[in-house]
């Protein structure tokens, strides 16, 4: 943290490459982490570096991945959404609630046609996102607390709908997307890819996407340039909730059941994926590309640890330490770059 200075106007051409590389550090550091993990697990376990397992990893990151796409928008705006997992859970349960369940499932549910069930589920998550949006932009509750409350509300909705039971059936289309495959490729990977691509295109090639970066980078400047900041913030909260909702439906289909607290673990996974990938919690920097790397790092880490023979009790600690290591490298590299700029 001792370096400090401005890249003064007209950098000498000699340092161009250097400054480009430094500029890309945000992306290079996570990428290097990923490579190291891949190499490590590849060496440590023969079953890790197989094509089959690569497919496994992709499937395993897909639900968290769809959540992370929405979360990327939120974090780019320098906000946070702690309700993603709860909304995913609630939406998954809603879609099951409106689907005919087998007779042994003990839920007083309301079977509707598949289309209606899906639409209602999407509306529910959009509504919860809207509540987040209103709380954040109109009432002015910081997103951290607003979504913390929403997390509890989501859990409450889950409890109320399934009442401790487990629902199994979801509409056929959802089941196909979550658990089916086409030509040997699981649909869920394709859905993830579509979400990632659409997310990337929106962020990079639409005005809305650029507004997201502007709002995250300098909220006041965005406002002065005529950007409706509140609208953008509201929109990202809704986008995040809808992505979570879709992920929840996929997840319910993928895991074959809808129950309370099913997706709790996805909150930290999705946040970690976005942040480990190199998107800044302070907004304005990063993007879907980073999220992809972050997802892969987490996916490889979780999957790889299943492949190597380590004391189960030690694994939790190791996972935490590797995560911390990745963060340190990542943030340290960013900080160096930051310092160069602002002194």
């Amino acid at each position: 943290m001792t370096t400090s200075s401005d890249v003064k106007a007209e950098p000498k051409s000699g340092s161009r490459l250097g400054s480009f590389l430094r500029g890309q550090m945000r992306n290079i550091a996570p990428f290097a982490t990923l490579i190291v993990l891949l190499v490590f697990f590849g060496v440590a376990s023969p079953s890790f570096a197989t094509l089959d397992n690569a497919a496994n990893i992709l499937v395993q990151i897909s639900v968290a991945g769809v959540i992370a796409v929405g979360l990327t928008f939120v974090i780019l705006c320098a906000e946070i959404d702690l309700s993603v997992a709860a909304i995913a859970n609630a939406t998954g349960i809603v879609v099951a609630y409106f689907t005919l369940q087998e007779s042994y499932v003990n839920i007083a549910n309301v079977p509707l046609p598949a289309v209606a069930a899906i639409v209602l589920a999407l509306l529910s998550c959009a509504f919860l996102g809207l509540v987040n949006a209103v709380g954040l932009t109109v009432v002015g509750i910081p997103s951290f607390i607003m979504t913390l409350a929403m997390m509890q509300i989501g859990a409450g909705i889950c409890a109320l709908l399934v009442r401790g039971q487990i629902a199994y059936a979801v509409p056929g289309f959802v089941a196909a997307m979550g658990a089916g495959s086409i030509e040997g490729i699981p649909w869920i990977i394709i859905v993830l890819a579509v979400f990632l691509i659409v997310g990337h295109v929106v962020l990079t090639y639409t005005r809305f996407g650029r507004y997201v970066y502007m709002v995250g980078g300098n909220r006041e400047a965005a406002e002065y340039s005529g950007v409706n900041v509140k609208l953008v913030l509201g929109a990202v909260m809704v986008i995040s909730a809808v992505c979570s909702g879709v992920a929840g439906m996929l997840g319910v289909a993928h895991f074959g059941s809808a129950q309370q607290n099913e997706f709790d673990g996805y909150l930290l996974d999705a946040i970690a994926a976005v942040v480990v990938g190199g998107t800044s919690l302070f907004g304005g920097r990063g993007g879907i590309g980073n999220t992809i790397i972050g997802l892969l790092i987490l996916g490889v880490l979780n999957n790889g640890l299943d492949h190597v023979e380590i004391d189960s009790f030690l694994k939790i600690l190791i996972r935490g330490l590797i995560l911390l290591g990745a963060l340190i490298i990542n943030v340290y590299v960013q900080a160096v770059r930051e310092n160069e700029r602002t002194g």
């Binding site: 079953s47 197989t50 089959d52 397992n53 496994n56 499937v59 395993q60 639900v63 087998e102 042994y104 499932v105 003990n106 409890a159 009442r163 401790g164 039971q165 487990i166 199994y168 658990a179 495959s181 699981p186 997840g251 993928h254 895991f255 074959g256 059941s257 129950q259 309370q260 607290n261 099913e262 997706f263 673990g265 996805y266 979780n302 999957n303 299943d306 492949h307 189960s312 009790f313």
Partner: protein, 309 residues
């Protein structure tokens, strides 16, 4: 005989009784079923049941039991989420003369706290009997995987012991993996995706509960590996159905209704007939249920529908 006398004494209560119940957390199907059973049997025996949800959280359950202990009850029944976390308020209720019936999990080691009765299945037996069913079907030869619950869970520890006791007797059985999935279906799916990649030949799988078994079945189906024999624990209706349809090979009944309903009956007897531990009701009651296979599945479902097991 004393048993007959107790049976007579345990009839419907004349005056309405107030009972407090708490189990690990209503998020779990098993617990939710227990709640229905307690309420069903409570109605029959003129007991009004008030529920204190443990929310699968030791701290939250402790607070709930603290609140329970500051109110008046005719008897209470508790399944602890974490062993030893409820000792103080439970002791307070025992001191106040309230019969406390311990369900499924120890509130504290039995020599430390004087509960009225402890109704629980033998987890070791459950683990062993399902494993035995799987091994027998395999003819004592093959590759098996055990997927454990949370390692800290005493039930899981017992089930693992039962599993190991059985496989030890069969040199032809090879145990490929025994990682924990913490009762979490997402973790189970992740583990099984790895197993199916890693092990080309898996013959049978034992899961510490049915929810994990059904989640793993989903993964097996996606990988076209449905020939793996699946054994679970709990025998909740969805699993019985899976057994009946052949998706699962066997599961063993962890009789939620028997335990929660039994707690009602034991409590009513203690209050109305003054039944004491020892002469009246044994301190330790093992409530094991049977292994469920295709043959007895339908009957088991019927019994559960009527809160009998």
């Amino acid at each position: 005989s004393p048993a007959m006398a107790a049976g007579v004494a345990a009839g419907r209560s004349e005056k309405p009784l107030k009972a407090a119940f708490s189990n690990a957390g209503l998020q779990a199907t098993w617990c939710a079923q227990g709640k229905s059973a307690a309420e069903y049997w409570g109605k029959l025996f003129n007991v009004e049941v008030t529920w204190f949800d443990g929310q699968l959280d030791a701290v939250k359950q402790r607070a709930a039991i603290d609140n329970m202990a500051s109110q008046k009850w005719d008897f209470v029944a508790i399944q602890a989420f974490g062993i030893g976390t409820l000792t103080q308020p439970v002791q307070k209720m025992i001191d106040a003369g309230i019969p406390v019936i311990d369900m499924d999990t120890l509130i504290a080691p039995l020599d430390k706290i004087n509960v009225h009765a402890f109704l629980a299945p033998d987890n070791e037996f459950m683990g062993a009997s399902v494993t035995q069913a799987l091994v027998t079907k395999l003819g004592g030869k093959g590759n098996v995987i055990m997927t454990q619950g949370a390692l800290g869970h005493t039930g899981a520890q017992g089930r693992a012991k039962g599993f190991e006791a059985v496989v030890k007797q069969y040199p032809g059985i090879k145990v490929l993996d025994t990682q924990p999935a913490d009762w979490d279906v997402t973790k189970t799916a992740r583990l099984w995706e790895t197993y199916l990649t890693k092990y080309p030949q898996i013959d049978a799988a034992f899961f510490h509960n049915d929810d994990m078994a059904l989640a793993a079945y989903n993964v097996m189906k996606a990988h076209n590996r449905t020939s793996i024999l699946i054994g679970g624990v709990d025998a909740m209706p969805p699993a019985i159905n899976a057994v009946a349809e052949g998706r699962m090979f066997a599961t063993v009944r962890n009789p939620s209704c028997r335990i929660h309903g039994g707690a009602i009956i034991a409590g009513v007897a203690a209050v109305t007939a003054g039944e004491k531990t020892g002469p009246g009701i044994p301190k330790n009651i093992v409530t094991d249920g049977p292994v469920v296979t295709k043959e007895n599945a339908a009957g088991m479902l019927w019994m559960e529908d009527h809160f009998l097991i």
